[in-house]
């Protein structure tokens, strides 16, 4: 880990915007997603920015939209991990971390949403970076939990062990939050790069990957539930299409209107809330229904999980706003 890792990660350097946004090699080693990609994909690093620079007000608007998305994701993680880790009896003290981290991420997001100024707050940056780090650690913990069970990564263990994909929501909250700060922070007239890519395309890529991953998790868990209700197919059909559209945005990156993508993002955002409704009904279908809520809320489908889709879709809508606004200039 480079000596200035935390300093860079927490955005201390944003006081010198020009340097902070031109990431140096050690930065990439530590936080650049692109540097972990195969050589061919690493060409992303040289992807051209096709959008015109944004004015400061638009930047703030976009950043706030992304704070909102990061906050919804963190909220989903807070309640979901609270229930699931309570169910697991907080067997390992590390199981408290996502609760703390997601709470901080929610506070940071609330601060960001309420902040109309183009200046970054170091505390937000720290909270978001910590969320991403906690999420990554969670992914490792959960993989370890599943892998150590008899049968290893068998279907049964993947179904009922620690959910492999769940901590990724915290990673996404963190990444989008960090990105929001970067977007907010850029000097007027600049076209900053993020994670080695032009910012709008980077955020579109994160959103796309997030939607695809979240859909994959829903697919796994809905497969566990044998798709017993036809509505269980919704999160494995619509979000993947939206993810593909956002991938197209990342690849294309041109500033233009995208009404179909916008519609799909809105639909996905709605689906996140609708999913919570369906899961509330799902809890009722367990023995004793809501009268036996103390058990069924843990045993039934996770009520706080589906809004992850909403959080990601909000971030996606911010990207579209970015690209549309830059078109006008």
């Amino acid at each position: 880990m480079p000596p200035d890792f935390w300093r860079r990660l927490t955005g201390t350097r944003t006081r010198e915007p020009s340097r902070a946004l031109t990431l140096t090699a050690p930065d990439r080693e530590s936080i650049d997603l692109a540097s972990y990609l195969p050589a061919r994909l690493r060409k992303l690093d040289t992807l051209p920015e096709r959008a015109a620079p944004l004015d400061a007000q638009t930047r703030v608007e976009v950043a706030r939209g992304m704070n909102r998305g990061a906050g919804v994701l963190a909220g989903s993680v807070l309640f979901d991990s609270a229930i699931e880790h309570y169910r697991g009896g907080f067997h390992n003290p590390a199981m408290f971390f996502p609760l703390v981290s997601s709470t901080l991420s929610i506070i940071a997001s609330a601060s960001g949403v309420g902040d109309n100024t183009p200046s970054v707050r170091r505390e937000r940056h720290v909270a978001y970076a910590a969320a991403a780090a906690t999420g990554f650690a969670g992914l490792a913990f959960h993989a370890y939990n599943v892998g150590k069970r008899t049968g290893g990564f068998s279907w049964t263990n993947v179904f009922y062990g620690a959910p492999l994909g769940a901590p990724a929501a915290l990673v996404l909250s963190g990444l989008l939050g960090v990105a929001a700060e970067r977007v907010r922070d850029a000097a007027p007239g600049q076209r900053p790069r993020l994670y080695g890519m032009p910012e709008s395309r980077a955020i579109a890529a994160v959103t796309s990957a997030g939607l695809a991953g979240t859909a994959a998790e829903a697919a796994l868990l809905h497969f566990r539930g044998a798709f017993q209700d036809p509505f269980m197919y919704l999160p494995v059909t619509i979000p993947p299409v939206t993810a593909a559209m956002m991938a197209a945005v990342a690849v294309d990156g041109r500033p233009r209107k995208r009404p179909v993508t916008r519609f799909l993002l809105r639909l996905t955002a709605f689906l996140g809330f609708a999913g919570t409704g369906f899961h509330i009904i799902g809890v009722h279908r367990n023995m004793g229904g809501w009268k036996n809520w103390t058990q069924n809320i843990q045993n039934g489908p996770p009520i706080p999980a589906p809004p992850s889709f909403t959080g990601l879709a909000l971030a996606g809508l911010s990207v579209l706003k970015m690209l549309e606004r830059s078109r006008r200039e």
Binding site: G151, T156, F159, Y160, G225, A226, Q228, N286, M287, G288
Partner: protein, 555 residues
């Protein structure tokens, strides 16, 4: 209604039957007068009779299905109490003898609408395909008259009907379609079998099991309450009572609870004309064009033998002399032991993991046939029973041993027993409360049977030790019955044909575990239901061809 406990007075009367999914509720039920000659009267509503009642009703036949047991509402009639739930077993008087008298009235019988599926352990396994040609392919016992591929089709139908929760892919046997529901999380008891099997280098799997892992209609998923073998009070268990019978009622079948059939009446043309039965304080007679006997391996031959008349002095369908013969329980030997970690084996369905290694491996055996074994989870009273009967513990010693309950683990087989004619069900001169002769059940293990369970006990003991269990002890038991009205290709050596139709009386059918020529090394319920599904389809097909009224005996 003064006392509606289900056992005092019949519930399925006045055009309604108990709603199994709602407390105190009813569903409409078509009723037929005794004088109406219904297409089928079925004696027994378990895995064979209940399933067939549904299939025949859905094919458009008029069906009356009778059961000696009560019509339960699982949500309100099933207590979390082992003693109270003894009411699910068939505890009428029997005389047992032979070298190895069978312990009747628990894991091998049921007296309920829905039969013993109301308290079965839900293990839902397919036969190994070769068993349907055991004589030809494996060199022992006899062949079945049905091809395994046809059975594979009907197994699938039953698995769908019961929404079986099973592994994503099953490690033994030919391809089978995906189970309708995913496997349940593994219990600590199941985990013990799994991890110790891996140490032994043999395969294991989640057990395909008839309890829901996701909601289905009004039935919630399993809550792992653990009182599985004394009646599931949540309806997560997919028994005949809450799967086939609601469908049967929807298709206009009538179910008569607390209806004990004593005798099948024969007409002058060599055809059955109906059944005599006792219900609500009086003897009655239901007319029928066809009679199906589905009382399981003791009550089925008992009824056929007790229906002897001038024309059939040795009992009905008995020209082969095989009614009641070839009784086969399954050996059910277990090895128990103690481990350091907490197991709490009462939680969840007991048999969540299984190995069919010795069903599908033919080398290294000194016996014919096979056995599967599963993880165990006896409830406290049953466990105390095991400790007293197998180890002779009593008093202070028993109390001290019971304190280890939460650390016990066990493996128990379902082992194949080969058919022997000397193992049989006969009638005695003694009469029961209905005035029906009490059956005598004679059973002795054969040499092959002993070699099989001794092999199993040796192998499982080894696995228990490898898995870290100590203070091992062995329990001898039997489970499941079959064989007393075997099906076959030849009227001289079988009671019914592949369609479960009697060779002697063309409108008399037997549809339950009695028709099994061999029992294999898996729990029989899925196979019984598959045969019932096949029989239902075959009857519909024969009706279309106008073959229901003709004799099928080869000229």
């Amino acid at each position: 209604m003064a006392t509606d406990d289900g056992m005092t007075a019949p519930r399925a009367v006045s055009g309604q039957a108990p709603d199994v999914f709602r407390r105190g509720a009813w569903v409409p039920m078509r009723q037929y007068p005794d004088s109406e000659e219904v297409d089928f009267v079925i004696v027994g509503t378990g895995a064979g009779g209940g399933t067939l009642a549904c299939k025949l009703a859905e094919h458009g036949f008029s069906v009356v299905a009778m059961d000696a047991g009560p019509y339960w509402r699982p949500l309100e009639d099933f207590a979390s109490d082992e003693a109270e739930q003894q009411k699910l077993y068939w505890r009428d008087e029997r005389i047992v003898d032979g070298d190895n008298p069978i312990d009747m009235g628990g894991n091998n019988s049921g007296k309920s609408v829905g039969g013993s599926t109301v308290h079965f352990a839900m293990v839902s396994l397919r036969f190994r395909p070769e068993w349907f040609k055991a004589r030809t392919k494996l060199g022992y016992a006899v062949d079945w008259p049905i091809d395994w591929r046809e059975m594979w089709h009907y197994y699938t139908e039953v698995e769908q009907a019961l929404a079986i929760s099973g592994p994503v892919s099953y490690p033994w046997g030919p391809h089978r379609p995906r189970y309708p529901r995913r496997p349940h999380p593994m219990s600590a008891a199941g985990e013990f079998l799994a991890s110790s099997a891996e140490k032994m280098g043999i395969g294991w799997s989640s057990t395909p099991i008839a309890t829901l892992s996701a909601p289905r209609g009004l039935a919630p998923p399993c809550v792992y309450r653990g009182f599985c073998v004394i009646g599931c009070s949540t309806n997560a268990k997919q028994s005949v009572l809450n799967t086939w019978l609601p469908r049967a009622l929807d298709a206009n079948a009538e179910i008569r609870d607390l209806a004990m059939v004593s005798r099948i009446e024969m007409g002058s043309r060599g055809l059955a004309t109906g059944v005599h039965y006792y219900r609500d304080g009086r003897w009655r007679f239901q007319k029928a064009k066809n009679v199906v006997v589905a009382g399981y391996a003791v009550e089925t031959p008992r009824l056929l033998l007790n229906s002897a008349c001038a024309q059939f002095p040795d009992g009905l369908a008995n020209s082969s002399g095989l009614v009641g013969k070839n009784l086969m329980p399954q050996s059910n030997h277990g090895v128990y032991g103690l481990v350091d970690q907490e197991i709490r084996w009462y939680k969840a369905p007991p048999s969540l993991s299984i190995t069919e290694h010795w069903n599908y491996t033919d080398t290294g055996k000194d016996f014919f046939g096979g056995y599967a074994y599963m993880s165990q989870g006896p409830l406290p009273t049953a466990w105390a029973g095991s400790l007293t009967s197998s180890r002779g513990l009593w008093g202070e010693k028993l109390v001290r041993e019971m304190e280890k309950y939460n650390h016990q683990v066990g493996l128990k087989i379902v082992g194949e027993v080969l058919p022997q004619e000397k193992n049989q069900v006969t009638l005695t001169d003694e009469k029961d409360a209905y005035g029906i002769p009490i059956p005598r059940i004679t059973f002795s293990y054969g040499e092959n049977d002993k070699r099989l369970y001794e092999h199993a006990v040796r192998f499982m003991s080894q696995q228990m030790e490898v898995g870290g269990a100590r203070d091992l002890f062995v329990e001898s038991d039997t489970a499941h019955l079959g064989g007393t009205a075997k099906m076959g290709d030849d009227p001289r050596t079988s009671v019914v044909n592949a369609d479960c139709r009697s060779w002697d009386i063309p409108n008399l059918w037997v549809c339950d575990g009695s028709v099994f020529p061999t029992v294999g090394g898996v729990n029989p319920s899925l196979t019984i239901q598959a045969i019932a599904c096949r029989t239902g389809d075959r009857i519909a097909e024969m009706a279309r061809r106008g073959e229901l009224t003709r004799r099928t005996t080869p000229a």
